[in-house]
C-alpha cells in the first residue's frame, strides 16, 4: 500500500539554536514565499476588480472607511469577507488533505476516506429537501452529518486500536451507503429542490459575510498550529505504524489526534463554503511536486489550497462574463488542469 516514492536523502540546512534543531529546506522556503506572493496578487485583484473597479490606494482607503463613495461598502461588506473565506477554506482543506494523505499513506486519502464529505452532503441534502432549512441550518446540518459519519467510521473500524487499512475499507463502505442515499434523495426530489441541493453540493463562497469569516478564522488560529505541532510525529507515522512505534511514538494517540484535527478543519471549511471536494486532494499533491518532496508537506499544502481556492473563485467571477460559476466548479477545473499540466511536465522530463 505504500504508494509514495521512496525516502529521499535529507537535504537543506540544519540549524541548531540551543537544544532545538530545525531543518531549513531552501526550496520549501522559496516555494512558500512564492505562494504568498501569488496569494497577495490574487487578493489585490479580487479586491480591486468586479462591477465596481477601483485602484489599490482607493481600496486601502476604503478598508479604513474612506475612499470614493460606496466603495467602502463594496469592499468591506462583500469583497473582503468573500476573499477571507476563500483563503481560510482553501488553507483548511489543503492542510486536512495533507494530514489524511499522510496518515493513510495514500494519495487518495482525503476527508472523503472516513466518510466526512458524503456525511455532510447527506446532512445538507436532508435539511434542504425535508426541512426546507435556511442557509445557516444547512451548514449546521452538514457539519453534524459529517462529524456523525466520521465518528461512525472510526468506531466501526475500532478493534483493539484502529488499523489504517481497516479504517480505509470501512470508510469506503460507509461512504458508498451515504452516496447512494444522496443519489436517491436527489432523484426523487422535485427538479427545483434537486437543483438547490446540487448547487450546495458543489460548494461556493458566493455571498459570504463576516459571520462566516469570524468562526472560520478563529478555528484556524487554534487548529493550524495544533496540527503543525503534531506534524513531526506525522513524518514518523509515514514510515508505517510499526516503525513509528519502534521509534517510541504512541501511534494510536497521534493518529487519533491528527484525525480529529483533520476532521475539525474539514468541518469548519464545510460550514463556511459547502463541500469543495478537490482542494483536499489536489493541494497536497501540487505542493509535494512544487517542493519536490515525496510526502505532502503541511504548510505548503495550506498555502497551495488558499491560492487554489482564492484564484479559482476569482477566475469563476471574471472569466466567463456575466456567467458566475461557483468556486467548487472552478476549483476542480483549475486544480485538475494544473495537476494534469504538472504530471505532463514530469512525464516529458522523465522524473
Amino acid at each position: 500500500m505504500s504508494t509514495h516514492t521512496g525516502p529521499r536523502p535529507i537535504s537543506g540546512v540544519v540549524l541548531r539554536p540551543f537544544s532545538l534543531s530545525v531543518r531549513l529546506r531552501p526550496r520549501a522556503l522559496l516555494v512558500g514565499l512564492a505562494l504568498l506572493a501569488v496569494l497577495t496578487i490574487v487578493g489585490v485583484v479580487t479586491l480591486t476588480t468586479g462591477d465596481y473597479e477601483a485602484t489599490v490606494p482607493e481600496v486601502i482607503d476604503a478598508l479604513f472607511g474612506g475612499g470614493p463613495p460606496g466603495l467602502d461598502v463594496v469592499v468591506r461588506r462583500f469583497r473582503l469577507p468573500r476573499l477571507l473565506v476563500a483563503i481560510g477554506v482553501g488553507a483548511a482543506l489543503g492542510t486536512a488533505g495533507a494530514v489524511f494523505q499522510s496518515i493513510t499513506r495514500n494519495p487518495l486519502g482525503s476527508p472523503d476516506v472516513i466518510g466526512f464529505t458524503n456525511g455532510s452532503a447527506t446532512g445538507a441534502v436532508l435539511a434542504i429537501l425535508l426541512l426546507r432549512a435556511t442557509t445557516v441550518e444547512v451548514a449546521a446540518a452538514a457539519v453534524i452529518g459529517g462529524v456523525l459519519s466520521a465518528a461512525a467510521v472510526y468506531l466501526l473500524s475500532y478493534r483493539r486500536g484502529v488499523a489504517g487499512f481497516r479504517l480505509i475499507l470501512v470508510g469506503i463502505g460507509v461512504s458508498a451507503m451515504l452516496t447512494s442515499v444522496n443519489t436517491y434523495l436527489l432523484s426523487r426530489a422535485s427538479l427545483r429542490e434537486a437543483q438547490i441541493a446540487q448547487l450546495w453540493l458543489l460548494g461556493s463562497v458566493n455571498g459570504r459575510s463576516w459571520e462566516h469569516v469570524v468562526p472560520l478564522w478563529a478555528s484556524l488560529v487554534v487548529l493550524l498550529p495544533a496540527v503543525l505541532a503534531m506534524s513531526r510525529s506525522l513524518a514518523m507515522l509515514e514510515l508505517g505504524a510499526d516503525t513509528a512505534s519502534a521509534l517510541g511514538l504512541w501511534s494510536g494517540k497521534v493518529t487519533l489526534g491528527l484525525l480529529l484535527g483533520g476532521v475539525a478543519l474539514t468541518a469548519v471549511a464545510t460550514a463556511a463554503a459547502g463541500p469543495i471536494a478537490f482542494v483536499a486532494l489536489a493541494a497536497p499533491q501540487i505542493a509535494a511536486r512544487l517542493v519536490r518532496s515525496g510526502t505532502p508537506p503541511l504548510l505548503p499544502a495550506a498555502l497551495t489550497g488558499a491560492v487554489l481556492l482564492a484564484g479559482a473563485d476569482l477566475a469563476g467571477q471574471q472569466l466567463f462574463g456575466s456567467l458566475r460559476l461557483p468556486a467548487g466548479v472552478t476549483t476542480a477545473a483549475v486544480g485538475g488542469i494544473y495537476l494534469i499540466w504538472l504530471l505532463g511536465r514530469e512525464w516529458r522530463k522523465g522524473w
Partner: protein, 340 residues
C-alpha cells in the same frame, strides 16, 4: 518459492470448490430473477416460456424483459468486478475503483455533452456516446499516468483523480446552466438495469467478453507487478506491457458496463476486497472470484430492488450500496484483511 508452491497446490482444490459454489449461487439467483418482479411468474411457466414463445403476457415478460435484464446484470457485474480487481492490482491501491481510469467520468462527460448539445434523449442513444467518452478519457489518464519511464502506481492514481476533477467541473458547469440536461442526467447517474433490451446486450457483450478474457489472462503478470517495480523487472516481468494490457481491459470492461447501466461505483471497489478475504492476495484467484461474486451482488440487488417496493422499483445502484455496504463493513471487522 517451493514452499509457497506446495501451499498453493494444497489450497487450489478448495478454492476451485468455492468458485464452483459461487457459480451455483449465481445460477440459482438468475433463475429467481426470471420469476420475481412486479408480476410473479411461477417456475413451470418460466420454464415453458423459455422453451417456446406462446404469445402470452408471461412469455413476453420472461423472454423480452427479464431474460436480457438478467444476462445484462451478470455481464455488467462481472465486468465491474474484474475491472475493480484489475485497477486495484495495477495501482496497488485499495481505494482505486474502475472509475479511476477515467472511464466513468469520461462516459458521464460524453453523455452530458450528448444531452445538452446534441439533443440525445433516449437511453439507447447514450450507449455509444458513453463508450466513446470512456475510451477518450482513459487514453488521457493512461498517457499521463502509466506510460513513459516515470510511470508508478501512484502516478496513475493522481492522473485519474486530476482528469476526473477537470471533467467533473465541466459536467457540473453544464448541468448548472442547463436544467433540462440536469433533469435527464440525474436519472442516468443513479445506475439502472431497467428497460435495456437485447439490442443493448448485443452491442456491448463483445467488448465485455474480450475484456474479461484479457483480464483473466493477466493474473500472473499482476502478481509479479505486486512485488514492486524493481523486483518485478528482475523476475522478468514487463511492467509496461502488463500495465497497458490491464488498462485496455479496464477500459473495455468498465466502459461497456457504464454505457449499459450508468456509473455503478460500489461493486468494483468492494468486491475485489471480499475476493481477497477469501483467496488471499493471489491475483490468479482474485480475478475469477471477483468475476463471479460481483454478478451475484448486482443481480441480487436488482432482484431485491424489484421486490421491496413492488410494483415500483428501486434502482440497482442504490440497493447495492444500501444492502452491500453493511455486509462489507461486517466482513472488514471480522476477517483478517489481506493487504494489497
Amino acid at each position: 518459492m517451493t514452499g509457497t508452491k506446495v501451499a498453493t497446490a494444497r489450497a487450489a482444490p478448495r478454492r476451485l470448490l468455492g468458485l464452483a459454489a459461487a457459480v451455483l449461487v449465481l445460477a440459482a439467483l438468475f433463475a429467481v430473477s426470471l420469476a420475481v418482479g412486479a408480476r410473479h411468474i411461477d417456475a413451470t411457466t418460466v420454464w415453458q416460456a423459455l422453451g417456446h414463445d406462446d404469445g402470452s403476457d408471461d412469455a413476453y415478460i420472461v423472454r423480452a424483459l427479464r431474460l436480457p435484464r438478467g444476462i445484462l446484470a451478470v455481464l455488467v457485474g462481472a465486468a465491474l468486478g474484474l475491472a475493480g480487481a484489475l485497477m486495484q492490482a495495477l495501482t496497488r491501491n485499495p481505494l482505486a475503483d474502475p472509475g479511476l481510469m477515467g472511464v466513468e467520468i469520461g462516459a458521464s462527460t460524453a453523455i452530458v455533452t450528448g444531452i445538452a448539445f446534441f439533443g440525445v434523449t433516449a437511453p439507447s442513444g447514450y450507449v455509444w456516446f458513453a463508450f466513446a467518452g470512456a475510451l477518450a478519457a482513459s487514453v488521457i489518464v493512461y498517457t499521463l499516468g502509466a506510460s513513459g519511464r516515470a510511470a508508478t502506481p501512484e502516478r496513475i492514481v493522481v492522473a485519474g483523480a486530476a482528469v476526473s476533477a477537470a471533467l467533473g467541473a465541466f459536467i457540473s458547469a453544464v448541468l448548472l446552466l442547463n436544467g433540462q440536461a440536469f433533469d435527464r442526467f440525474r436519472f442516468w447517474v443513479v445506475g439502472s438495469l431497467a428497460n435495456r433490451g437485447f439490442d443493448v446486450l448485443w452491442q456491448l457483450a463483445p467488448f465485455i467478453l474480450t475484456g474479461a478474457v484479457l483480464a483473466l489472462l493477466l493474473g500472473r503478470g499482476l502478481n509479479v507487478l505486486a512485488l514492486g517495480e524493481d523486483t518485478g523487472r528482475a523476475l522478468g516481468a514487463r511492467a509496461g506491457h502488463v500495465r497497458l494490457a490491464g488498462a485496455l481491459a479496464v477500459t473495455l470492461l468498465c466502459g461497456a458496463a457504464t454505457a449499459a447501466a450508468g456509473p455503478i461505483g460500489f461493486v468494483g471497489l468492494t468486491v475485489p476486497h471480499v475476493a481477497r478475504m477469501i483467496t488471499g492476495p493471489d491475483n490468479a484467484w482474485v480475478l475469477p472470484y471477483s468475476a463471479v461474486l460481483a454478478p451475484i451482488l448486482v443481480l441480487g440487488a436488482d432482484v431485491l430492488g424489484r421486490v421491496v417496493v413492488a410494483p415500483g422499483e428501486l434502482e440497482v445502484g442504490i440497493v447495492m450500496a444500501l444492502v452491500g455496504a453493511p455486509v462489507f463493513i461486517a466482513l472488514c471487522r471480522r476477517t483478517r484483511i489481506a493487504q494489497l
